[in-house]
């Protein structure tokens, strides 16, 4: 399948222009990809270090439905870590636990060495975590520019009076807002729709705008819940390229949920497989591909009867 080359072309250039570096803005962008000698640092050297994110014995139930049961997971700095599993396996719940939207019934989330019973959502951006949602969570009434720029909101320190009068910190922030946002828009090839209302874009582009909103915050950890859902094969491979490029450029660690096994196998460093809220396999794409339980649960073709009994089991019948 031919890859759209214009996207890759756009990635060749540095994402942030020199003058932005001069202002000392994107701290996360500066390591790894700037110095040639350091190439590949994100992927290899991090292996020895403590994981950026780890889950310990996470359990979560909704009424009688067990969404997550005793999940352990570790995510190394700089890797693309996929989570796959059938519908209702608990993948989104896991992302919601990591981002603090859900509070797990038991277990702990460790982020950059700090343990949380519930991750504080309102400080998530400050902790260097950004996410996208399975169902689009854009701000429909804002332009693409403002949607993406809103990803910088956590840095804003000017107050409303300063902003209204255009004095003090708000001026510099306005400058940063425009320069950072425009560069991310260019990176993700969204410049042409910059001033459109986000709600009026086709679905695939809205997904990309959401990725841009997450990326503009320069997160250490990027949580993507089915970023390619509902896309055509062409759009999917384009999105996969963007995810990979984002990791390479920003040395961001990526946790990726995706149903398309082909995309996942090609993109991920390690894959965890969930089923019924349990982790049934964890390893490199090759290991997972050859795991019998995975084949049974997910990759193999489950018969209708099986699917039915799975639903019944979930409902606790």
């Amino acid at each position: 399948m031919p890859l759209p080359t214009y996207a890759l072309g756009a990635m060749e250039a540095s994402v942030y222009a020199p003058e932005v570096f001069a202002r000392g803005l994107p701290s996360v962008l500066q390591p790894a990809h700037l110095s040639e000698g350091d190439a590949g640092a994100a992927g290899s050297t991090a292996n020895a270090a403590a994981p950026l994110l780890s889950l310990h014995g996470i359990g979560l139930a909704f009424g009688g439905v067990v969404a997550l049961a005793d999940i352990d997971l570790s995510v190394r700095s700089g890797e693309i870590r996929a989570i796959i599993g059938p519908n209702g396996a608990g993948k989104s719940s896991l992302i919601n636990v990591i981002s603090g939207v859900y509070r797990p019934d038991r277990g702990q989330v460790r982020l950059a060495g700090v343990g949380y019973a519930q991750v504080p959502t309102q400080r998530l951006a400050h902790l260097g975590v950004a996410r996208t949602f399975q169902n689009l969570a854009l701000f429909k009434g804002l332009s693409v520019l403002d949607n993406v720029g809103s990803g910088l909101a956590y840095k804003v320190r000017s107050n409303f009076a300063g902003q209204v009068l255009g004095i003090g910190r708000s001026r510099g922030e306005r400058y940063d807002f425009l320069s950072c946002t425009d560069q991310i828009l260019e990176f993700l090839d969204l410049t042409a729709v910059r001033d459109r209302l986000a709600g009026t874009l086709p679905y695939g582009l809205q997904k990309r705008v959401e990725l841009a909103r997450a990326l503009v915050a320069e997160p250490r950890l990027l949580l993507l819940d089915e970023p390619m859902a509902g896309m055509t094969p062409g759009e999917k491979s384009e999105m996969a390229d963007f995810v990979r490029a984002a990791r390479d450029r920003f040395s961001t660690t990526v946790v990726l949920i995706e149903h398309d096994v082909g995309v996942v196998m090609g993109l991920s460093d390690r894959i965890a497989v969930l089923d019924y809220g349990r982790k049934i396999a964890d390893g490199t794409p090759d290991e997972v591909r050859n795991d019998q339980r995975v084949i049974d649960a997910y990759l193999g073709v489950a018969s209708d009867n099986e699917a039915l009994s799975r639903d019944e089991a979930r409902a606790g019948i």
């Binding site: 939207v101 309102q122 951006a125 701000f139 804002l142 956590y154 902003q163 209204v164 090839d189 909103r213």
Partner: protein, 346 residues
Amino acid sequence: MAAIAADFSTAPVLPKWIAPVLLLAVAYGVVPLIGSSYLFEAILLPFLALGLAGVGLNILTGYAGQVSLGSAAFMAAGAFAAYNFNLRVEGLPLIGSIFLAGIVAAAIGIVFGLPSLRLKGFYLAVSTLAAQFFVQWALTKFSWFSNNSASGVIDAPKLSIGGLALDGAVGRYLFALTIVSILTFLAYRLVSSQTGRNFIAIRDNETAARIIGIPVLKTKLLAFAISSFIIGVAGVIWAFAYLRTVEPDGFDLDRSFQILFIIIIGGLASIRGAFFGAALIVVFPLGLSRLSGFLLGDVFDSGVLDMSQRIVLGALIILFLILEPDGLVALWDRIRRRLLFAWQST
């Protein structure tokens, strides 16, 4: 990527500031010269006060997505606070009283905005009713607020700025126009600022807003505060410049609904919309009553006429909302685009 091709219909767009500047030039330079006192007293003064109240409510409801039925309470709070500051604080200029009145309204707005941290939509709207009933009750119950006047109706102080008396119809109009213009300009700046974007983000997706680091609770309360400040000042204009009396009765639930209608009819999340809506709400009943008085005045008594006006107005509002749910602003923009297009293609 056909999808990306944006709609670059290159209509000749005038700079954004031209229309408001022209409008202000007419409002200051022409209207005072040619306007009758009926125009000022019956149309422009209530229009300005209600338009400003609409701007205030639109910030809260249209932009930040928090529905409120307490607008009249904040108007009342502003009006009575300004009256009392003016009465009790020696040497405080009128503008100072008005500013402090806005602050008082903002503080009350924050208190009654606290439920918004837990409640949404309809439930929040009902809880803002508490503000409506509480404020009206307190103003009637404690006669201190009305300076122990027997009737509860008190004369507003005469308007003046820096010794310049603005007591006639034109003076009060200019006074109101100036305050409304300044606050509207600041409101416009606000909604296109980072804070304004935060308002919209919270309205459109609160979870996503929290995740990206918008301080949701603080921002909601800020919306209540700013909105109530503006509505409070609108209340001062209503009482001091338009009615020239201060009384709790004028700030009842009907008024709250009226302001809500104004922003819905005018267009939610639009500063201009508040004034479109206010114009319709003020002018339409006047026109209707003239018309019906003219046509049917001899046949029916005024009570029946009044009732039927309300019915016609209500029906028109419903009809309008079905045909143009985005409000007068959307209608206006569409007509303007058509005209521009027609003009271009000739």
